[in-house]
């Protein structure tokens, strides 16, 4: 039972990350490869604030989301000059630079040793140390994120994002300064990734750099594309499959180390087949 709770929490955390990446790829057409970096920024900033100030978990998370937002805006100023594959490449650059900082700015992050002993959140006397309480917390947060994104996409703002995705040069002619829209959505998505990262840090009570590497960003791109771009449910489905697939493989008899690799292989094959026969993913609205 405890293990099932653990899996559900992971699904919810990855779902938050996947939903935010879907905002960028599926709704705005920006192939972004630095989600893990922003999750890490959220995680490390929150942990830093928790350990060196009197701040509680929630104020710390909010501040780290703001930090992520500022960094995303600065990054956006550079990224906005590029599109498609070059956009992706520069975002990879940011991801690698940030990963290197996590690993080697040992004074701040303790590098490969990681930071243990991260506290679970408390709010108004409620303590989230038990996994069940934490699950409820994350479920509420994930639902709020889902509803927020639903509102965003259903608004005229959301429609503009889709127009940018489909034909940025054309939508400009009709009076939209797409620059600001892209900066805004980049900033929002970064904040959500930071939120997921901070929650992850608090759940596992330990963080170390590899969790926030390029590899994870690429994995996230795979699951968002697989689940379905440009749909609300797609990233959630992708996240669930991503978390549950190694479990299913272990069940079938593969040893744990191989199971993780098999998950990768299955995702890789699935991506290829999808791009060949169903580029919108499982339940997606948008074809690359």
């Amino acid at each position: 039972m405890g293990y099932i709770i653990h899996l559900i929490i992971l699904c919810l955390l990855f779902a938050i990350n996947a939903m935010s990446l879907n905002l960028l790829i599926g709704y705005t057409g920006l192939l972004f490869a630095a989600s893990a970096a922003f999750a890490g920024i959220g995680a490390y900033t929150t942990v830093f604030l928790l350990k060196s100030t009197e701040l509680g978990f929630f104020p710390a998370v909010i501040i780290s989301m703001l930090v992520a937002s500022v960094m995303a805006t600065l990054l956006g100023l550079v990224l906005n000059k590029f599109r498609d594959d070059y956009f992706a490449l520069v975002s990879v650059g940011f991801q690698v630079i940030v990963s290197t900082v996590f690993m080697y700015w040992v004074g701040f992050t303790r590098g490969p040793l990681g930071i243990p002993g991260i506290a679970r959140p408390t709010l108004l006397g409620l303590d989230f140390s038990s996994n069940i309480m934490f699950l409820i917390l994350v479920a509420i947060i994930a639902s709020v994120v889902y509803l927020f994104i639903k509102f965003l996409i259903g608004s005229p703002f959301g429609r503009v994002l889709k127009a940018i995705r489909d034909n940025e040069e054309a939508i400009k002619v009709f009076g939209y300064n797409t620059y600001f829209f892209k900066l805004t959505i980049l900033s929002l998505a970064a904040m959500l990734c930071a939120l997921a990262g901070a929650l992850y840090a608090s759940y596992i009570t330990y963080i170390s750099p590899p969790v926030f590497y390029l590899f994870e960003s690429i994995l996230l791109i795979s699951i968002v594309t697989f689940g379905g771009l440009g749909s609300l449910k797609g990233p959630v489905i992708g996240a669930v499959i991503m978390v549950l697939l190694p479990e299913a493989l272990r069940f079938v008899g593969f040893p744990p180390e191989v199971a993780a690799q098999m998950r990768q292989a299955v995702f890789g094959l699935a991506l290829i087949l999808l791009m060949l026969y169903r580029p919108q993913g499982l339940v997606g609205e948008y074809k690359l």
């Binding site: 608004s155 703002f157 429609r159 889709k162 040069e169 002619v173």
Partner: protein
């Protein structure tokens, strides 16, 4: 009174002068045709006027204000809108969304909290019914035929309700019934007093629709005047055939 004037406008690509020191004026309320052989600079001129391509030198005067450079997202506030030769729509959203997106608020903040959806949908219905695409409003654009896409672009400029409209080959590749619908749309706008500039190759359509014609060749002005005169001029015919 000129709605739009260009003064000594130039643009070159890799050494080729696409638009070469061009000066023209477009009178308010008039329908002007831009004519000329392929490569004469007509489409480039429209890109320059709509900010899609930046120009190297010269000025564009809208009303009484002169601009030495134009950004694409500024032109609608100047009252300019356009269609595209290669039909630039938003392929993976619905027909209705393609119109709604040009009706809603332009700023980030306002677009998040806009509350006029009923009003906008009414307007969208109006223009879509005019071009006969209201029944297809929930379909994604990628499923439309070529003629329907061109009509959707027309509906879009109608929805923009700008004073100056640039059409880049609005009739190209259309069946006769579609040609009639586009013609009706342009006449409708002309009756509303709009200033229209359109690129066209068909002599008949030019004679029927335009009040004035500019003939371009290799980025320069070759001839100008009322359609009947200009289209019969020797040098104009030579430009088309000699090229």
């Amino acid at each position: 009174m000129n709605a739009l004037t260009i003064k000594n406008l130039s643009k070159h690509f890799d050494g080729v002068r696409a638009v070469d020191d061009l000066s023209l004026s477009f009178e308010k309320g008039r329908v002007t045709a831009l004519v000329g052989p392929n490569g004469s600079g007509k489409t480039t001129l429209m890109h320059l006027l709509s900010g899609v391509t930046p120009f190297d030198s010269g000025e564009v005067v809208v009303g009484t204000t002169a601009f030495s450079h134009i950004a694409p997202y500024d032109i609608s506030s100047l009252g300019i809108t356009r269609t595209f030769q290669s039909v630039q729509l938003f392929e993976q959203i619905s027909v209705l969304d393609n119109i709604l997106v040009v009706l809603t608020e332009r700023s980030v903040w306002a677009s998040l909290f806009e509350r006029h959806s009923k009003f906008h949908t009414e307007k969208a219905k109006g223009v879509l019914e005019f071009v006969g695409l209201w029944e297809k409003r929930s379909e994604k654009v990628e499923g439309l035929s070529y003629g329907q896409r061109k009509l959707l672009e027309i509906a879009r400029v109608l929805a923009m309700n700008c004073e100056i409209i640039l059409f880049d080959e609005p009739f190209a590749g259309l069946f006769p019934e579609m040609v009639k619908r586009v013609r009706d749309a342009i006449s409708h706008m002309r009756e509303a007093g709009k200033t229209i500039v359109f690129i066209e190759h068909s002599m008949q359509l030019i004679r029927e629709l335009s009040d004035y014609v500019y003939v371009l060749d290799a980025g320069k002005l070759l001839a100008e005047g009322a359609p009947a005169h200009v289209l019969g001029e020797r040098k104009v015919i030579a430009a088309y055939l000699g090229e």
